[in-house]
Subunit: 367 residues, 2 copies
DNA sequence: TTGTATGCGTTATCAT
DNA sequence: ATGATAACGCATACAA
């Protein structure tokens, strides 16, 4: 395979290290990574002093601390996490297990998790289960061998199968939903309040016949967001006969399908309140495929505010999850658990905000 | 905070373990995880025999192997990865470092990586740098402390900053692009061939004036895909004067912006060949916002075939990256490196396929 | 303030 | 075929 010439120019332009300068091998020998003993030898102290200089700097004389720091710089010493964790009986890594990395909600949560962890000296590692219990078991092994000090769970159900109960789980916290069977604290968003904001917007535009397009009944979010929907309609005295509830699986395709199902009924709603953005996006695609215009013919709301929501035409009116904040709080809770032992609170619900864009308008009577 | 009643029903329906059955503590004591010594005691053999029974079963008598296996089952023993790695000097984890987990290309690559790794007894952990060198350094520490046996890199540039050269890096392989300054093998897609397929499709529809909307010149993919574009036009004898090249940053917003830039020129192309799907999606949004119809007024092609591409209206004609295969090959290459020491090949380029959807049609003369 | 010595759980070497 | 034991790198109790 030919290598295009341009790539070489590119390499030269990107690399700030001159070609003729031999890369420094981090001083000292190139053999194996420096150990605490190497540092001790160079600093002319004992390994205990080195360890102390690193972890309890105040318990060591200024002069020696200086020597140690120099020796560390010279050797490029990094403490071997394996040895350290073995000795301590715990690691400084947090494992984050998610059913699906590709979920548009995931990555910004992760940012919050990571920032908080990092600022407390912890690292974050990600595992994903693809909703596969077998795969979950792998991570359980990982945990059992003390490779992680704590666990963040992105699913409402323990991904490890049922026989393996929480007995051996390290301190854990859930994100979005409580973890069933776990007695595990969690942080999420107030789904009911969020859904209420969406339905209230629709009602204020004059809609009465509003369909709720849900995902699966096995998801707690379904129930809670639907609760908000019902509460809003109740407050507006909308009779049951005007309420339409559909189930799906929360995917774009599922939203598309909902359109087909609804058009087989005799009466159509004037607005759709979707359990999440994916469903709303699919719904809008389905509507558009049938020649309808949103928001002229139908209004649509989502939930989550995934990145794609703002790029739709029309852009999607939705409920924003404070994702970074959720991540931050979840990690903070876990770290608290890690030091205290017991959590201050078992449930943290953040406030979701309404994001008004262009997918909602006044209702339009149908033919 | 009220807990909606429905959640309890939910929990009951999802949990197969009866409430009154006390969760079994994995038999034996609940204290700390079982060690190899616990197993040895119960099996009435030495720890050496236990270790052998696990790792070299053929070197141990059938009868004793049986006893050991039983003891393992009883204790729920899992070998402590910390101790094992410390002793062995290497771990059984592969670290995957990506600049952005949210990249729609990432998750399916990961599936390929994981499956291959798992089938060879390795686990996969994910780190993401957010394009932040500081963060990259954290992972370098992770590597230096032997917490990972190998490294998969998702960026063309070493994310660790320049002074820290490859000196101490474990066996590594790159994905998508060669890793500059590394001498690191990689697996990607044949960008030139892919781009050629796209431009040839456009040409075959009758387009002559085709714009190439790139991302950043610092990306190798830009250069290679543009090379395919140029080659196609050369072969069709399209003069230079009909070629339009734009740069951007590869985001949806960037594609949108490209539309604005182009409409400030006096002559417009009849087709847009975009360096990736994100750009193409943004472009189509921009076109649509100006009242144009794709493919009637303009044709558009992308590159990557991200999930969203098939959900656009019109759906996007693009070049599919064999992502799962790329992941599989990359991991296979790494594992080979891990055992052999030296790679069989230093560059693996997979074949990209044209995916014909609805964003390309014959050109239409403009006003 | 600093040094010595022990053990964390494994695997591998050497005996037996 | 099996067992005793050293060593991996580190943190800390205890001694000095």
């Amino acid at each position: 395979m030919d290598f295009p010439r341009t790539s070489f120019d590119l390499q030269a332009s990107l690399c700030s290290v001159p070609r003729n300068e031999t890369p420094r091998q981090n001083a000292v020998s190139n053999s194996s990574p420096a150990t605490i003993e190497d540092v001790a030898r160079i600093a002319e102290v004992s390994i205990a002093t080195v360890s102390r200089a690193i972890h309890m700097p105040e318990k060591v004389a200024n002069s020696t601390r200086l020597k140690v720091n120099q020796a560390i710089a010279i050797t490029g010493y990094t403490t071997n996490a394996m040895a350290r964790s073995l000795r301590l009986g715990r690691s400084n890594m947090i494992l984050v297990v998610a059913p699906d990395i590709g979920d548009p909600n995931f990555s910004s949560i992760l940012v919050g998790l990571e920032n908080e962890a990092r600022s407390h000296g912890y690292g974050v590692l990600i595992g994903h289960t693809q909703n596969d219990a077998q795969r979950g078991l792998e991570y359980l092994k990982f945990l059992n061998s003390n490779q992680a000090a704590g666990l963040i769970l992105f699913t409402g159900i323990l991904p490890f199968g049922h026989q393996t109960m929480t007995a051996r789980l390290p301190p854990s916290v859930g994100v979005f939903e409580p973890v069933f069977n776990g007695g595990i604290p969690y942080v999420g968003v107030d789904d009911i309040e969020g859904a209420r904001k969406a339905v209230d917007l629709l009602l204020s535009e004059g809609h009465r016949k509003i369909a709720f397009i849900g995902d699966s009944k096995t998801r707690l979010a379904y129930h809670r967001r639907r609760l908000g929907y019902e509460a809003g309609l109740d407050a507006a005295n909308v009779p049951d006969s005007l309420r339409i509830i559909l189930e799906g699986d929360g995917t774009i395709e599922s939203g598309r399908l909902a359109v087909e199902q609804l058009f087989m009924r005799d009466t159509l709603p004037t607005a759709f309140m979707c359990v999440n953005d994916q469903t709303a996006i699919g719904l809008m695609i389905g509507l558009s495929a049938r020649g309808y215009n949103v928001p002229r013919d139908f209004s649509v709301t989502g939930f989550d505010d995934v990145p794609q929501a703002s790029f739709m035409t029309p852009s999607l009116t939705t409920i924003r999850q404070p994702r970074t904040a959720i991540g931050k709080h979840a990690m903070a809770l876990l770290l608290e658990l890690l030091s205290d032992g017991k959590p201050a609170e078992t449930e943290i619900l953040l406030r979701p905000d309404l994001v008004v864009r262009n997918s909602v308008g006044p209702p339009r009577p149908h033919k």
